[in-house]
Symmetry: D2
Subunit: 135 residues, 4 copies
């Protein structure tokens, strides 16, 4: 069991009816994607053709920040606010969609973009599934 799942198991109060497995999966996907996008921005920065990767770097930086914040918000359960959770998840799905599309466009040239695009897709799906489960 991951640490994120263990932390959910040991939360001392009610999780407010949220789907625990989808929540754990989304938290993990957010942190994975935050790391991947931070690394991909830096890998792009070291590419010879960096001038063609400007938008990719920018989108990676945004996506890293949004995923980071989303992973933090989802790691808190005290005084749960469905409205805010939903708005943050929508922003995260949008950031992952934008970054996944951008990285996918460079995936054939750059392996780091291919790996990062997949991390973005996983995170986008995890956000979408969690949004749907909020009812």
């Amino acid at each position: 069991m991951t640490v994120a799942s263990q932390m959910l198991e040991t939360y001392p109060a009610d999780l407010g009816g949220i789907d625990r497995q989808k929540l754990a999966a989304c938290i993990e996907a957010c942190f994975e994607c935050a790391q991947s996008c931070t690394a991909c921005a830096d890998a792009c920065l070291s590419e010879e053709m960096v001038d063609q990767l400007r938008t990719c770097i920018r989108t990676n930086l945004d996506c890293a920040d949004v995923c980071d914040t989303t992973g933090r918000v989802l790691s808190r359960h005290t005084g749960y606010d469905a409205n805010l959770t939903r708005a943050v998840l929508e922003a995260c799905a949008a950031a992952c969609k934008a970054c996944g599309d951008e990285c996918a466009g460079h995936a054939e040239m750059h392996e780091h973009c291919r790996i990062c695009a997949e991390a973005c897709r996983r995170c986008q799906s995890a956000c979408r599934e969690l949004i749907d489960s909020l009812g």
Copy 2:
């Protein structure tokens, strides 16, 4: 002129038709609110009646993270994505609304909550004005 405004003035490319003054005001409000919410969460944590401030602390922590990320996203202009900007601003306005309401409820008892509620209101307004100006 603030540093945030100076950085906008010296950005070497086009800002993409965004309202420069509203953008600068929103960036500054985001960083101010991120600091204020971080400090208010900690001040609440030191109050004797901390057990009645649990939701306030949690909302402060979320708002700090969302404002921080929003301030960063708004500080970038390369490869501007209106969709993502809007989604992030909506999440920020929601976080500031939730935190402003929560802090306002404790404003008569705790000066730090009163000051923080005002920072949240300013940031919420700045986000809303910027969203409206995006057209």
Copy 3:
């Protein structure tokens, strides 16, 4: 292979003689600890005896922020600066030591503190090993 390791494998330039396995382990430990500390602060906040967990919450919040930043700095390799890497790793080891000690003191009462203390220990060790390998 984790995404962090895959991103290291596909970095297009030289990693500057850093130990790749220790680097990957440290990046992963930082993100795991950032999540764990964020969740532990929130779990403490929901405990009935929250007034006895003030220092634990504060230390968790600091440790989450420092681990987050350290994980980001370590995910970048372009223009590597050994001095800065070392200073950031020292701060991270100090934060993990403080938080691991604090959480360990509540581990018998609170399972989330026990799990979080272990994440802090792992991250502290990973930072220390990476510092030693920098030569």
Copy 4:
């Protein structure tokens, strides 16, 4: 009075003998520098000669993250830990030194680097003064 100063004034417990004015100045310098470095990384990314600004972008990103975390740690006073504060301030001074030097090297070519170098110098000095005052 800035919001950061107001939050310090209304903190409900003892600040632990720390110099309040130096603390407020350092918190403000950290948030200002975090914003400035985020914006400078993005401005560099839009420069025609981006391939000569790789190290500058990377150092800006690191400095933004370290300043952000330092500003947050300094905004908390509950359960104050001088050791951790000092380690974080040392990392921040190192990041600001590295980024200030790097940006200064491009200051004649790029106004955003000149402005950002000044923000880094101010933050480095503020960290150094606060470290010295910790005794």
